[in-house]
């Protein structure tokens, strides 16, 4: 297999324009003859499906939830970046590009990132036209705020519910096409296999989560926009049904997985409180605009805090260590997520952590409350403060919040070329499901930007280019042997799981996997921890296939749904650990303790690791083949990231 990124020639700023001029088109009469399947209705999936429908293609779109409006994009809080420079603070497409490349620690493709920055402005225009109620200032024009990893205010937001509002915009567009009949919506369906015919993606096998039946759907092309795989860590900020199974089946059918070890740990989450906990709650990092992060300077005081003998408010100003402001005076509390997360872990590991677990730091609004007044703080962050109080039972207007990093986003995903096409022809990946734009670390407010960019502004062009030579291919029948085989394989896998009837629940296995991943493949990884993790995951996987207990209930079977996902996570975890072990450097969210600067910053090795690692599946028990896509930086200078 040869990886070809298909990046157009010419100067960076002209590549996308040139591509659009030269792409092939499909005339309206032919569009009607072509079918596209879209998996997922988050920002990427919904916007792509709606746009395809408007163009005149026949679209079938699938989601796991009861409604397309519930995809997990809905939970994104903080905002969406765009290079509008409305704030007149020196922003530009070039600067957004620079920040994203630098934020990703120079492990993303220049051409993709530039295109993302270029279309960012169109997204805001589009969403405003859809009636997305972005925050505005008194002039009636759009308001902006700043976000981690940037020194300009380029983030557009709708209270603390930006993801919700953008998703509802895309859901509206999708609903419009469903009403028109160009898009057919299938809810409560989970993709369990990809059907490949003569080397091209031609359909999917899905499980109807209500009836339990397996269903076959055929198309000329398939888009996977099923989100990230963060729940391989069990506890994460992802939704309960977020999973990696759709992309994992694509991987097993020949699509390469790229940079699987690049996972993002978000610094501002509510700390873990117990074993039965099912998920972690993120609070928007916009809180870092006004909140100041600290731990006590004195480890003894930290101990007393952990034991509940003193309170945070008992620690006077001069005894507080605002460690981000101390270490990074230029960016302070607004350093990128990976830097902020590691710094919190460093303080807690050194014995300065608070909360009864010692796994928390303070995020304090005392200064902001004095500077802005309670009303202004409430206006900006009221819903977040309320959410915090509900979960922790403490009032953040009085007592500082406690935060700790949690798994939030996966930069890795299916390898795609410039057209967002995977190594399987006709299989495209969009949004968090692909690896393309964020390198080794995603900047805040860039996930929404990428999801909508892929769906509204990239795929409609590249998909057309692919389908242009498919106009003579008739609609596919689902009776072919390829569909038969794929469905049978799924059927057998389900039968195998149901037949085990062991003594351990799916959740127990998932929690144990999560424990291995967090401890050994988490924020700081070493050769030793990763080697151990690989062995332990293999053992756990073997145990799963001997002892998992799944009820044999006909029809809806929620335990079976979870079991199928965890079975895939038990394979994915191993690949993540392998990738992390291969990458003998630290970059962005991937921190290998062996590779750090004297002051504890990530130490990249550009000479040996400036490449995208793309893995080709060789069977569950065999090592995958590693393909390298060398990254060439012609427009930015590779530097050690410096937020001081």
């Amino acid at each position: 297999m040869e990886l070809n990124s298909n990046i157009p020639n010419g100067p960076l700023s002209e590549k996308w324009t040139k591509y659009k001029i030269n792409q092939k088109l499909v005339n309206p009469a032919n569009k009607r003859k072509l079918d596209i399947i879209v998996i997922g209705t988050g920002l990427a999936g919904a916007s792509a499906a709606a746009s395809f429908g408007e163009m005149g293609f026949n679209v079938k779109v699938f989601c796991i939830q009861d409604s397309p409006r519930r995809a997990h994009s809905i939970a994104a809080q903080g905002g969406i970046n765009a290079a509008k420079n409305y704030a007149n603070d020196g922003d530009s497409v070039q600067r957004l590009f620079n920040d994203t490349i630098k934020g990703g620690d120079y492990r993303a493709r220049e051409a993709n990132v530039y295109r993302l920055a270029e279309v960012s402005n169109n997204i805001i225009d589009q969403c405003v036209a859809q009636g997305v109620p972005f925050a505005r200032d008194y002039s009636g024009l759009l308001a902006n705020r700043s976000f981690g990893g940037a020194q300009v205010s380029r983030t557009f937001y709708a209270k603390g519910q930006t993801g919700q509002q953008l998703l509802l915009g895309a859901y509206g567009a999708l609903s419009k096409e469903i009403e028109k009949g160009t898009v057919k919506m299938y809810t409560r369906r989970e993709m369990l296999d990809l059907v490949v015919i003569d080397g091209r993606a031609r359909g999917v096998i899905v499980r109807n989560l209500i009836t339990g039946e397996l269903e076959r759907y055929a198309a000329h092309a398939v888009v996977v926009a099923s989100g990230g795989y963060g729940r391989v860590f069990y506890l994460s900020t992802n939704a309960m049904s977020s999973n990696g199974s759709a992309i994992w089946q694509c991987y097993k059918k020949g699509a390469c997985m790229a940079n699987p070890c690049f996972t993002q740990i978000h610094p501002t989450c509510i700390p873990v409180h117990g074993d039965y906990q099912s998920k972690l709650t993120l609070m928007s990092e916009s809180l870092r605009n006004d909140g100041r992060i600290w731990v006590p300077k004195d480890a003894e005081k930290a101990r007393l805090l952990r034991e509940g003998k003193i309170k945070a408010t008992d620690i006077p100003e001069e005894e507080r260590d605002y460690y981000l402001e101390r270490r990074y005076p230029a960016f302070g509390n607004l350093v990128p997520r990976d830097v902020a997360s590691r710094a919190a872990k460093e303080r807690c590991d050194a014995g300065y952590g608070v909360n009864n677990t010692g796994r928390a730091v303070y995020l304090d609004f005392k200064e902001a409350l004095q500077r802005l007044g309670k009303k202004a703080v409430e206006e900006k962050y009221g819903n977040l403060f309320e959410m915090y109080e509900r979960i922790v039972d403490e009032n953040p207007y009085v007592t500082p919040m406690m935060i700790y990093p949690a798994v939030h986003y996966t930069m890795g995903g299916l390898w795609v070329d410039y057209e967002l096409q995977t190594t399987v022809k006709g299989l495209f990946a969009a949004g968090e499901a692909n690896f393309s734009d964020h390198g080794a670390n995603r900047l805040g407010a860039s996930a929404l930007m990428q999801g909508l960019s892929d769906g509204y502004f990239i795929l409609p062009y590249t998909m057309q280019n692919y389908l242009a030579d498919q106009i003579n291919v008739p609609h596919f029948s689902t009776d072919s042997k390829e569909f038969e085989e794929a469905e049978n394989a799924v059927r057998q896998k389900i039968a195998k799981i149901l037949a085990i009837n062991g003594n351990t629940t799916v959740d127990t296995f998932h929690r144990r996997l999560g424990h291995i991943m967090w401890e050994k493949v988490g924020m700081a990884r070493t050769e030793q921890s990763l080697t151990e993790a690989i062995a332990e995951i293999k053992e756990l996987r073997a145990e799963f296939w001997q002892h998992v207990k799944v009820p044999k209930t006909e029809g809806m079977n929620t335990e079976l749904e979870k079991a199928l996902r965890v079975a895939d996570f038990l394979e994915m975890g191993e690949l993540i650990a392998r990738d992390a072990l291969m990458r003998n450097e630290s970059c962005g969210g991937h921190f290998r303790s062996e590779y750090q600067t004297p002051d504890g910053e990530a130490l990249r090795d550009d000479e040996h690791y400036a490449f995208v690692a793309a893995y080709e599946y060789q069977g569950v028990d065999n090592e995958p083949v590693l393909h390298k896509e060398e990254l060439r930086f012609e427009n930015v200078e590779l530097k050690q990231r410096n937020y001081k």
């Binding site: 225009d125 519910q161 009403e179 039965y276 502004f457």
Partner: protein
């Protein structure tokens, strides 16, 4: 804490349902209500029983998937709280907690506590959007929107589509849900072009789908986890009336 649960169990839409009692011990006070159900389900699975089916996803109060009738209130009795944000510390040791699915003809039961809310999607499909196509739209700052209207539109748009308003209403009315969507666009200049059509189409679809009418009890507002105001219903009524008096027929 130790609690007793009375949960509605119903194998599928056609089956006859019944309340089943479960004793659940040593429930941690920090657990959310759904985590408490997870604990119950894990015990049921180990015993070889079928776990209780319920919808849930983000577990942070925004996706709108969860929705249980808890002790006679949608999402429980606490204000501005979704089921997933309700914590067990709000209950006392020894409490009996009754858990039912949404009760509305427009939301048929699928299994146990899970109902079919696709009627809400159909309502949105009737016109709960601005019909712009991708691309070719003006610059975002071309049309200013007063901060007041933008904020009110945002308040209306905060609806999570959980269905508590319908479940709370004795008439199973979807007026708060539709009113919120109509209001969001009625408050924005971009929404004006299709305003008259939108309100008529959505109201007509509401009737087709079997939702009842509004008799101003405001139970919807009282139980809405996102504090959506009934003033949105008033705004929709004004829009509807204006569209009818204006004499404009729907397309």
């Amino acid at each position: 804490m130790n609690i007793k649960l009375k949960i509605w169990r119903q194998h599928n839409a056609a089956a006859k349902g019944e309340f089943v009692e479960y004793q659940l011990n040593e429930v941690p006070a920090e657990a959310s209500f759904l985590e408490m159900l997870d604990i119950l389900n894990e015990q049921l699975v180990l015993k070889g029983d079928d776990p209780v089916a319920f919808d849930h996803d983000c577990r942070e109060g925004i996706c709108g998937a969860c929705g249980l009738y808890i002790n006679g209130h949608p999402h429980g009795k606490f204000k501005n709280t979704t089921t997933c944000q309700l914590h067990m510390r709000k209950f006392k040791d020894g409490d009996t907690i009754t858990v039912e699915p949404w009760r509305s003809e427009a939301f048929p039961i699928i299994k146990d506590l899970m109902v079919d809310r696709s009627a809400f999607d159909k309502l949105i499909q009737a016109g709960g959007y601005i019909s712009v196509h991708t691309g070719g739209v003006p610059d975002a700052n071309t049309i200013p929107v007063s901060k007041r209207n933008a904020d009110l539109a945002m308040d209306a748009a905060a609806c999570i589509g959980c269905g508590a308003c319908v479940a709370a209403c004795k008439n199973s009315s979807a007026m708060l849900f539709v009113g919120a969507k109509v209001s969001q666009f009625a408050l924005l200049p971009q929404g004006q072009i299709e305003g008259e059509d939108r309100v008529q189409k959505m109201v007509a679809r509401m009737d087709e789908l079997g939702f009842g009418n509004c008799t101003n009890t405001f139970a919807c507002q009282a139980e809405c986890p996102k504090n959506i105001s009934v003033s949105n219903i008033a705004r929709m009524n004004r829009q509807y009336l204006a569209a009818k008096i204006g004499g404009k027929k729907t397309n």
